[in-house]
Symmetry: C2
Subunit: 415 residues, 2 copies
């Protein structure tokens, strides 16, 4: 029986040491190495192709984070790269938009049953923050209701870490317990006549937490409440968008928003975000300032058009569901046969796994780090992402690594 050969990360560690001199913390934000299992993970990547990535030490991984969402077709999808390159060979960042601006807006509107317009930014936070401003301008009210613990971006009103923000920036945001319709009604009542928007992810995908699908009737209740009280309903589909449905995750989860925010997957890694809106909000949208130096950059729009077309042509959403289901079933079987108690949550294309009785995420960190050392990249604290390039053979190969990692957890923590 061959001895497992585990990855080492010498070059990654040396680079992180260099980085620490010139970047506070070396690497920050959701990619901070501290969120993973230091020593068991690479810190820097060098190459990507399909569902495979290679770190700076030359280690190869099957990628189940897909860059925390953006890579939905696989790294360097030929059609997307070709479209982006063709655009780059003409013009990317112009004085006025390129024709792709119109093409992409038309395409997005055409695949989104209820939307009649689109705007474009760069970051997911650009999209969510602007949507909130549109709701405020439309209603003349200030309050925004969001679920406790939900992530809607890194801007002051919603950042999970308020260090450096002011009370004034956060005072108009109020929270309710996700999936608790009664609590939502309570909060809405408390601020009756003052609520501009309710902003929701299509399902609960908070970090360090099992994912939670919307309870039966929850989304209908939100829509009714918004209609009754004149509240704008914003779907934050930044993380989940284009993995559950081409017309927005609300289509499969029974949520009818007034505004939908996308970013991440829409350009298969090219930096772009977009907000789609209902006709009734068009005029208000025109009045709320939205701009940035690269908002009209054409290559990211060419990439987005190619991404959407390829996802449709390849039946990408179905592929992710199939691969994600195969992965989930394999993990479940492995854990059961080892007597490890785990919980898997979320849709198959956006899965997550936690260990039961693992509040400090010690088992998760160990397992995810052992997966990384065996060539499977996934995070212990954050949901994972399938892409359309994950095939049966990739999943089966990944399951060899996850089994080895489960055994290490079993050895250390028992059942």
């Amino acid at each position: 029986m061959p001895v497992e050969k585990l990855y080492t990360f010498d070059r990654s560690e040396a680079l992180l040491e260099r980085a620490r001199h010139v970047v506070p913390g070396g690497i920050y934000g959701h990619q901070s190495p501290q969120l993973l299992s230091p020593g068991s993970y690479p810190n820097f990547f060098a190459r990507g192709e399909g569902c495979r990535i290679w770190d700076v030490d030359g280690n190869e991984y099957i990628d189940f984070m897909c860059s925390y969402g953006p890579i939905v077709l696989g790294h360097r999808h030929p059609k997307v790269e070709k479209a982006a390159r063709a655009q780059l060979e003409q013009l990317d960042c112009p004085n006025m938009p390129s024709e792709r601006w119109v093409d992409l807006a038309e395409l997005l509107v055409s695949i989104t049953p209820w939307a009649s317009w689109a705007v474009f930014g760069k970051n997911g936070s650009d999209a969510t923050s602007w949507s909130v401003a549109v709701a405020r301008a439309r209603t003349g009210r200030n309050k925004v209701i969001m679920a406790e613990g939900a992530y809607h971006g890194s801007h002051p009103w919603c950042t999970p870490n308020p260090t450096g923000t002011t009370e004034g920036e956060r005072m108009d945001v109020v929270t309710f317990e996700y999936n608790n319709s009664e609590d939502l009604r309570r909060v809405a009542n408390e601020h009756r006549g003052q609520v501009a928007a309710i902003i929701l992810c299509p399902f609960r995908h908070d970090v360090f937490h099992n994912q939670e699908m919307p309870a039966p009737g929850f989304h209908d209740g939100v829509r009714s409440l918004c209609d009754r009280e004149g509240i704008v309903l914003i779907l934050d589909d930044v993380r989940a968008g284009f993995r559950l449905h081409m017309g927005g995750s609300g289509e499969v989860l029974g949520l009818q928003p007034d505004l939908t925010c996308y970013s991440k997957a829409v350009g298969n890694g090219y930096a772009i975000s977009t907000v789609l809106g209902r006709e009734e909000l068009r005029e208000t949208a025109q009045q709320v300032y939205f701009t940035g130096s690269f908002f009209t950059a054409a290559a990211s729009m060419a990439a987005a058009i190619a991404t959407i077309n390829a996802l449709r042509d390849e039946d990408g959403i179905k592929k992710m569901e199939v691969a994600g289901t195969r992965f989930r079933e394999g993990l479940d079987q492995q854990a059961r046969s080892l007597g490890l108690r785990i919980t898997q949550s979320g849709p198959p294309a956006i899965p997550f796994l936690t260990f039961d009785n693992d509040q400090a995420f010690e088992r998760s960190r160990l397992w995810a780090g052992e997966c990384a050392r065996r060539g499977v990249f996934l995070a212990p604290f954050h949901n994972w992402f399938l892409c359309a390039a994950h095939g049966e053979a990739d999943i089966d190969e990944a399951l060899v690594a996850t089994e080895g990692a489960f055994k290490v957890v079993k050895d250390k923590f028992g059942g």
Copy 2:
């Protein structure tokens, strides 16, 4: 004598009509066609090369807006494109950064005398807003002082159009009159002990306004005030950065900041922004959340490295100064010989021209539109930008167009 053949914009107009159906206003933000001279300008661009751009009707322009700043070497600079493409052929948007993350931070720190670290975002607003948060976290204070009318981005605390923002988001921002040291001291005194930051552009470059260089002693006074009161001094070099000095515009204008924000020119059109900081702020910087899906995207970093190296190797800043001076002198001579009273302002690399007695910018709009119809793209409301690809012959060719445009202004408005 040949008859001037003026450009027409049929395809641009048709595309704008299509855009209006699927984007509120068709085109928004600083590129809104309403800010130019509707009917005399193209709305969409198709190609760029050096200092030349071509619109969707095939009209060719000498570009004096450089995409409102980003294009500092010229469109599609071969070394930048080569570097970006080489990176795109390996990996762009990764789970963890690429090696370019470290290379670029090291390069920026090495060319900036006082800085010891860098962070990266996508938009200029990402950079200015995060800098303000760092100042607040560092000082435990909330107030931010900025110059009345200055532009520091499109986020709620600083957007020039407050529609959709709340009082809470703006209540901690106070303003003073630019270049008025006494007024600045008054405002600082009024909020003594509460001021986290003073944020300044390197010179005044507000839209619809003559540019204004810092008055003698103004910058020294700001620095002393910050030192005395423990205030963080933020240089917003988003618009001017890499056109006056490789180490930041403060180097030539006598401003010693604690944090400097760059975006626009740093990647020659590739979407990236960065904040450089002093050693004393490193620890605080590590505590203030900063993240986005594309913040570690590697192609924009490869582009930035190539841009900085090419600017240095080509002596780009000198070239822009020379070309800008030639343009300014030519414009001055033309206006004088026609008896038109104009004011030119700002550094030669970031010039602007207004007509005297033209409060409603009617002469400016007419002139800029007539320039556009003759193949020179510049804006009537916003400062212009030179790039390192503007040569003598380009300037002289542009001056033929500007003279024709001046004559139209003279015919319509007199002297």
